[in-house]
């Protein structure tokens, strides 16, 4: 998806605020949200990380940019609790009001969207299919944009890079986020020269390395600009 979260290379976000507070949670609620998220994963309510990330990506762009990091987590938690049939939006809204009535009944859970259970906290996979690429190969990234979750950043779409590491097979987020299964795909680190990404007037020798799944890649017909 062409989402607001896909920030690499975007202009206009200003200077980096390098003097961060030395604490994890500046506000108390941020810690509560961090802990809530941890428990929801452990309980299997948040089925997997890709589903969680995509819940964040479905925020409106304005909300994404203004709610802050733990505010984005809070939005995702609420989305997931409602989608998974744990809480109703109306019960959350009611609970925000001044009067606390009897405890909200748990809604009848919809049949879970995920027909498979998460495998013991690992994203590593063994697959039969052999890897298509080896270190040193030139690869061209896909240009397509699908509406759902992907880990192909927009700024490396349609670019030529060089495979610099091969990592074996890992859960494919584009499927896992949408309950289409948690099969693995081969994962590679692909290095792109700054010139390939940002134009010839960028600094020679500098580069960006991005971890990309095999379905995003095809063999390149041309060589990437040298990155060394």
């Amino acid at each position: 998806m062409d989402g607001i979260h896909d920030l690499g290379g975007k202009h206009g976000h200003g200077a980096v605020e390098t003097d961060a507070a030395p604490t994890n949670f500046v506000q108390r609620w941020q810690g509560r949200v961090f802990g809530l998220n941890n428990r929801m994963f452990r309980l299997g309510i948040t089925h997997n990380t890709d589903y969680f990330r995509h819940a964040i990506e479905r925020m409106t762009p304005a909300a994404y940019l203004t709610h802050g990091y733990y505010g984005r987590w809070l939005a995702a938690i609420e989305t997931i609790l409602v989608e998974q049939g744990i809480l109703r939006s109306a019960d959350i809204e009611k609970r925000l009001g001044p009067e606390v009535g009897p405890s909200a009944a748990r809604p009848d859970p919809d049949p879970t969207r995920f027909a498979y259970t998460l495998r013991a906290y690992t994203a590593r996979r063994q697959i039969q299919r052999e890897q298509r690429f080896v270190e040193g190969d030139q690869v061209l990234t896909a240009t397509h944009t699908k509406p759902g979750h992907t880990r192909l950043p927009a700024y490396v779409r349609g670019r030529v890079g060089r495979v610099v590491a091969v990592h074996g097979a890992w859960v494919y987020p584009d499927d896992n986020a949408h309950a289409r299964g948690d099969e693995g795909q081969h994962l590679y680190t692909v290095e792109f020269s700054a010139a390939e990404l940002w134009g010839a007037d960028t600094r020679g020798g500098d580069s960006v390395c991005v971890d990309l799944f095999e379905p995003y890649l095809q063999a390149a017909q041309r060589a990437a600009d040298d990155v060394d």
């Binding site: 979260h5 896909d6 920030l7 690499g8 290379g9 976000h13 200003g14 200077a15 980096v16 605020e17 390098t18 961060a20 507070a21 994890n24 949670f25 506000q27 108390r28 609620w29 810690g31 509560r32 961090f34 802990g35 809530l36 941890n38 428990r39 309980l43 990330r53 909300a63 940019l65 709610h67 990091y69 733990y70 505010g71 809070l74 744990i86 809480l87 959350i92 925000l96 405890s103 909200a104 690992t122 994203a123 590593r124 880990r151 950043p153 990592h167 890992w170 987020p173 994962l187 680190t189 990404l197 600094r203 020798g205 500098d206 580069s207 960006v208 390395c209 991005v210 971890d211 990309l212």
Partner: protein, 193 residues
Amino acid sequence: MSDADQALRAEAIEALLVEQGLITSAEIDDVITRYNERVGPMNGARVVARAWTDAQFKARLLADGTSAIEEFEFEGGEVEKLVVVENTETTHNVVVCTLCSCYPWAVLGLPPKWYKDPAYRSRVVREPRAVLQEFGLAVPAEQRVRVWDSSAEVRYMVLPQMPTAWVGLSETELATRVTRDSMIGVTTLADQP
């Protein structure tokens, strides 16, 4: 949404889940305590100090970060595939996650605010030298900059160069001097006393 509104929503959701018997507030307290007290950059600093003082460990660390750090028995997640990238005279490495805020929690703790903000995530892949300058680091022209965008399961940590003035210090002493930012790659330790 204001901080007060977010605090209220978080509190409402926690209360509803507690009433349903799905969670306890004590469990949430435990998670917060773990990440505030036991998971943090002091763990990564120990790894760096050992790599500087034990060549065999360093070789294992660069070959397979996840296996190499097992001997520390760190708590905390996000290191199923840890890759450690070494700064050298010719290469300066810096880490980002442009799509969200992926970060190797077990060795560096939870990321600082700027790491999660749009400014860093958008700019460091496009103009890394300008961003590093904002952290006070001028990368010499003869060093290439390699930016690592953590877009999948791999989590990256930078092995900074040890200042020559630190030669002879013990592993324990060195571990107290390694900074979080040097392991993300937005600073070096060159000017440290």
